[in-house]
Subunit: 234 residues, 2 copies
């Protein structure tokens, strides 16, 4: 049975708060893209902490992605496939959206577990923005995508390099070693990794994360979270 | 100085939870539309409580609306105008979205204060869905819009009728009387009010609501919330 880790709202809030300085200094986002539904809450919290006095809020656009586990009976190699479908996407023909060409875009989600959804989001957004900028005659301008998640599960850590370490995350190198051989379903672009355009606020083992917005009894959820060994806000 | 009311994450969570049975039985939503950024958090929480066993999640679409206070120097009657601009909208030409014709759609936001944003959202969504259904040759099918907000401020209460009262909200009639003459900037369609397609989880006076996702110190925010007279979760 997979171990459950309970995360409270205030822990989520503090993870966003703790990550904001790094996001501001390294990513300098002009726009956030929240992957719904999991990215809605962290994106909204993060917006408060990314606001600089005298500057307007960093706008949030939402996209919707659903992950379906599909059983393929015809292909014995790919017995279980994973299909991502769009339920909402950006309107890149609109004026606001065409403005993102050449800017820094921060993609926000709750958890990076199998990486399937993130791979899809990054790949498709890069492709669509590239096509839009070509169409505008601005193909030379590179739009820079960054990723922020609340949690990355250990099995995905092979893709993280030493540059993504945060203060107090010295254990990361060990995770990389331990999990090197674990297979991941999705991959992020090599240049995103090399340029440290990926940030997970916290690292967890191969556990099931219980987010507060899924709790049927939030008091009980908080009680269970308090009983856990401290894994948040290191 | 306007009085501040501090609302915790868990209070927001419980407001959504307490409202879910009424939303399920009366509104029976097929789709949620979250007005960003305020509607993101309640919409995501609500999704958990609207899920029925054996049924898929009710999908969330996000729209983005910004409220600008504009100073009009030329028109002495309208000295301060309020302009709503779209930062994100629905793609009604997509297959998923065309499916909402004839369905029940729940619009979700955090607070109904001046009602300006809600008026805009309901009016424009009704108009666009009507146009889309005409185009599809399904003009006879009525799409039913409902509204859910966490809080309604007393000054907007004139628009609420006795039918929108919830258990334990007996004080509502008084508010209606007391605030009858207060001017509101926005209005909701008459049939939405008459058919009770509006629900505010809680009623507050003419106060400034501090939502937790805007707190720079969440522990201090919770402490201030605990010091208040109980106004939530009646």
């Amino acid at each position: 049975m997979v171990e459950k880790v309970y995360v409270t709202y205030n822990q989520v809030h503090k993870l966003c708060q703790a990550s904001a300085p790094h996001i501001l200094s390294s990513f300098q986002p002009n726009l956030m893209i929240a992957i719904g539904g999991g990215g809605y809450v962290p994106a909204r919290i993060l917006r408060s902490f990314l606001k600089r006095p005298g500057s307007p809020n960093i706008p949030i656009q939402a996209i919707g992605l659903s992950l379906y586990e599909t059983l393929s009976s015809s292909d014995p190699v790919e017995q279980v496939g994973t299909k991502v479908t769009r339920t909402q996407w950006l309107d890149l023909s609109s004026l606001e959206m065409s403005n993102l060409v050449g800017k820094n875009v921060l993609i926000v989600d709750e958890v990076d577990d199998t990486r399937t959804t993130l791979e899809y989001a990054v790949r498709e957004l890069e492709k669509d923005v590239e096509a839009a900028s070509e169409k505008m005659g601005r193909g030379g301008e590179k739009t820079r995508f960054c990723v922020f998640v609340l949690h990355v599960s250990a099995q995905s850590l092979f893709f993280m390099r030493e540059g993504t370490e945060m203060e107090g995350r010295e254990g990361l190198a060990d995770w990389e070693l331990q999990n090197k051989d674990k297979p991941k379903k999705g991959q992020l672009p090599q240049d995103m990794i090399e340029e440290n355009r990926y940030l997970a606020a916290n690292t967890v083992g191969d556990v099931w994360i219980c987010y507060p917005w899924e709790a049927t009894d939030i008091d009980d959820h908080d009680r269970l979270a308090a009983l856990q060994p401290v894994v948040e806000n290191k």
